[in-house]
Structures are given as C-alpha cells and as structure tokens.
Symmetry: C2
C-alpha cells in the first residue's frame, strides 16, 4: 500500500467532547456512567469519559471455555490483560480481581455486567447475531462467566496530561482499531487468532515520550507494539483509513485525518497498541458453542478503580 | 519452501542418552549437575539430564537494562517466562524468585551463576565475542544482574512419560531451534526482535495430546505456539534442516530426520514451542552497551526445584 500520513494533531489539552446525554462532566465517575448505562440514559462510546477511571473490555463465555480463555490472556497479556472475572460461574454482579492488591468489590461496588455497558455485541457459535444492543439480560445464563480486559483509554489521560492528547479524542471520535496478521499464542480452543490494535497518530520525535508514558500501564496494554509507516506493512494492515472497528481517522470538520504523502522525520506517524477487541476476534475464529457476549468496540465498562490503582510495583511481576 | 517431513519418531520411553562424563544417572540432581559443571567435569548439553529438575535459560545484563528486560519478559511470557533474577545487583550466588510460593533459596541452595552452566556465550555491545566458554568469572562484574528463564526441557519428562519421547532425546541430540519472523512485543531498548522456537516432530493425530500435556507448563513455554507444515511458512523459517541454534534433526545413525515429501494425515509434522534463546536474539538486536552473558543454547542451568513446583494453580494468575 502507498504510505499515508495523518494531517491533524492536537497536543494541547482540550475539554472533553460532547458525550451524549450525560448531565455534567464534574459528576462523572465509573459508577455514574454504569448506572446511567443501566438506566438506558447513557448510550455513547466512552473514550474520554470519566477521566482517570479505569475502563474495561468485556468477554462473557460459557463456563466450559473459561479455563482456555484465562490461559489465552495469560499467554497474550499485551492485547489481553486480564483484570477480573465473575466471582463465580453465573455471577453478573460480583468480581474476582486479578489485579494485585485490589479486591473485586473495589473494582466495582455496584455492578450489573448485563446492563452497565452502553452497547453490547452477541455471538452465537462464533457468529455475530446482535450488534450494539443495549443490554444482554436475555442472553446471560447461569452458565456464563464474564471477563474484564484492560483498555487503552486508561493511559489516554496520562498522554493528555503530558500534552499528547490523542487525535481521536480531540476530534470527538472513537479510536480506530485494526485487525493484524500478528498471531496470538494459542490456548486450548483459541487458535489461529491475531492481534487487534488501536492506532493514535503522533509526531515521530514524540514516540519515545509516548512509549515512556504508556509503558507503566501494563494492565491496559502498556507501551505500543509497533510504530511508524513500516509498521503498517509489518502488522498486515490493509488500509489505515478503513479500520475494522471504531471510527476512521476523520476530523470533526469532515476532513480526513489521513492522506497520501511521503514520510518525513518531522511528520506524524501511526502508533499501534494492543487492543482489548482482540478476544472478540479470537471468538470469531474459535467459534465456541453457545452464546458469547462482548462490549461494542469503544463502549467500555467504566470501573470504580483509578488509573493509578493498576500500575504494578516492580516487585509484583510473578510467573 | 518445499514441505519436508520428519522420518523418525520414537514413542516409547528409552534410557537417557550418554551425557559426557557424568558418573551415574541415579546420582543426577540439579545440584549435582551444577557442582559438576562448576568443577569443569560436566561439559555436555543438558537435554534429558536430571529428569524432573527444572532447567533454566540465563541472561546476564548490566543493571541499567534490568528494568526493560523484566518488562520484555512480562510482555512476552511464552518465549520469556521469567523464573528468577539476582537477589541484588551483582549477586551471582542468590536469587529472587518470581515463581509464586517458591523462594530463591529453594530454586538453588548452592549457586554460582558464573560457573554452574557447562557452556556460556558472551556478547560485547550486542556482538558475540565468546562462544561456548566454560565459565564467565572474568566477565561478571558488580553491576551485572542475572535472569533465569524457563526451559522447555521441563515438559519433556512429562511428554516421555506419556509415550511421546522427543525425537532429539531419542537420538541423543540437542533440540533444533529456529529464528522466526513473529515479533516480540517491544519493551524499552528491546525492540524489533522476534521469537526463537524449539521444534519437536510429532504425529498429527498426537498433537492435541501433546498440546494438553505441555499446556500446564506456563513457566516453561507451555503449549506449542504453532504446528504443522503450514506453520513453517507462518513462522518464516527458511530451512527446517538448518536450525540457527541446537542441532539439526539428524538421527544417531547419521540419517536425516527430515526429507522432502508430501503431507499425509498420518505423517509426522513439526511442532513449535516458544524458546528461551529468544532473549539472546533480543540482545543481538538491541545491542545494549557493555557485557551481556547467556548460556550456550542447550546448555542450561539445572535447578533444585522440580517440574511440579512451577505449575501454577488457577488462582495464581494475577496481572
């Protein structure tokens, strides 16, 4: 493919975009967003919402696949950092935490996994059967286990604070996400799947700074997995202007954020992070029997814990 | 490349091969092998040695790279499962364990990282300067940190017990190891490196059994990352008969273990696991300043802990 470059970047912090029918930015917490989604009052995506509150990707599986999925996360912690799961099979209201020093109750005091995300996806035998539905009460059974995976929105606050506001946030859009050819390490039934990545454009000279800021966020994908125009080919991305998930990189005025041009040291380049939509790709590949539920990409579960609660100390890296 | 197949396989358990000048197989423990290597009496590779004693890959780095290397392991736990590291910077005799429920003293009661491996590799500024040397006393400094990475030899005992003796063990050879094009997730200075894999041929009908047996060994690479003839191309391996590390798959009578032939369901296929030589490839890529030490591929540090000590329980999978 011809190289393309991103034409817009906003480095200064800006007020967060309009996000549907929330009452006021000052009231936003993880709980307030969950309760609003549960009441059907919050229906938007969640990029930039409730800053510093950790957001999570969701996968809900029949219990027979729980062990393999847990192993998939363990073997692929960059795209699939496991934060928590249902405390017991069938529990949609309580979590077991996988974050050291954090309890399930601290992650979400008041939880209904079936209702607290603004939009869901439903798969039957690995095939998408419902897209962007508002709750999954009818789909949830006593045999389901919910898994929460870290989300890169968590480090966007830190990037913004450092003067590196992500372009998609500046333009009030969902982050673009792409299928890649980078293989996941298989785990049981989950085979032959590949990484999904999110993309944020940054100036080449800022890349080491961007890497350094996101590096400690190991529970929410950490530092980028690749960057630069060469990375587009290495990752096997077909067309940067047509992401498989999220929204194309287009500015609020409708102008494209990407255009054909050469590469200069001082130009913007795409930077790619592991993405928590990866497990949904794995579901499509593995085609597990029965009903699987995920969040709609960009529509995350917003938690009670804060970004700083999930940065591990050095002494917390056991096998 | 043309598909090639492995012509020999041995499924029955066999006595371990002749392994240099060890006195007797019945006396073999991790400690006895370490002390023999320290005394210059054990100089061979360690596949099939001291069965059930965990073996480890070694990387020794200047302290300024320790943090990035720890993160590299954390982000790539399949090729780089971190078992332990020097208890403090400069310590070659005591370990800090990263295995839950196991202390450093339990991993090795009597240790001299500079002498207890039969053969070492030395890199200066990322370039190999010494190959297969017997000790690294002269190279070790007070600024060095040693890291131990799990080794796939640990699950070979379990495979053998299940009637799936690895072909290289049956033929008294080192396991073949190959460079691949599968990227590691970068961490700090460690960028643009790729997986190294080990290969063991198995019958196609045995692959699910092989996967199941090795799956629990998450601290020693776990289940295979890929398998079958298609995998050779997916991994970007140029020539299966010419591994970059270890020994070519050739039988004791000199006949090749690989030959050109078509693929049949009932034929042997190559099965690939993540390999602890991966960090040495990362060193060659990153070219860290100063002296880096590794084990010679196949010549591992044999520990006091046993294979069953490193199989984690389900409740031990924190972020």
């Amino acid at each position: 493919m011809a190289p393309i470059a991103v034409t817009h970047v906003v480095e200064a912090a800006k007020p967060s975009k309009t996000t549907g029918n929330r009452k006021s930015a000052v009231e936003e917490t993880g709980e307030s967003i969950r309760l609003a989604a549960r009441a059907g009052e919050y229906t938007d995506q969640t990029s930039g919402v409730a800053p510093t509150y950790v957001q999570a990707n969701l996968i809900v599986l029949p219990s027979q696949y729980a062990s393999d999925f847990r192993l998939l996360c363990r073997r692929n912690p960059v795209p699939c950092p496991l934060l928590a799961e249902s405390k017991e099979v069938g529990r949609w209201d309580q979590l077991q935490s996988w974050i050291q020093g954090v309890t399930g109750d601290q992650i979400t005091k008041d939880l209904d996994i079936r209702n607290d995300i603004s939009k869901y996806m439903v798969y039957e035998n690995g095939n998408l059967t419902k897209s962007h539905c508002h709750n999954v009460e009818a789909e949830w059974t006593e045999d389901h286990v919910g898994f929460l995976i870290g989300c890169s929105y968590s480090f966007e606050t830190a990037l913004t604070a450092a003067g590196l506001l992500p372009a998609h946030t500046a333009h009030g859009r969902n982050v673009p996400m792409y299928r890649t050819k980078i293989p996941l390490c298989p785990a049981g039934v989950f085979q032959h799947s590949t990484y999904v990545v999110s993309m944020r454009p940054y100036r080449r000279r800022d890349i080491e700074k961007v890497r350094g800021i996101t590096r400690p966020y190991v529970a929410t994908h950490g530092e980028p997995i690749d960057w630069g125009w060469d990375a587009v080919e290495r990752l096997g991305i077909q067309d940067l202007s047509r992401p498989e998930y999220g929204e194309a990189p287009i500015a609020t005025d409708g102008s494209p954020l990407v255009r054909g041009m050469g590469i200069e040291d001082d130009e913007l380049v795409p930077v790619f992070w592991g993405c928590g939509v990866t497990p949904q790709e794995a579901i499509r590949r593995a085609k597990p029997e029965g009903t699987v539920i995920g969040h709609a990409p960009g529509h995350m579960l917003v938690l009670d814990i804060r970004d700083w609660d999930i940065i591990p100390k050095q002494e917390e890296i056991p096998i």
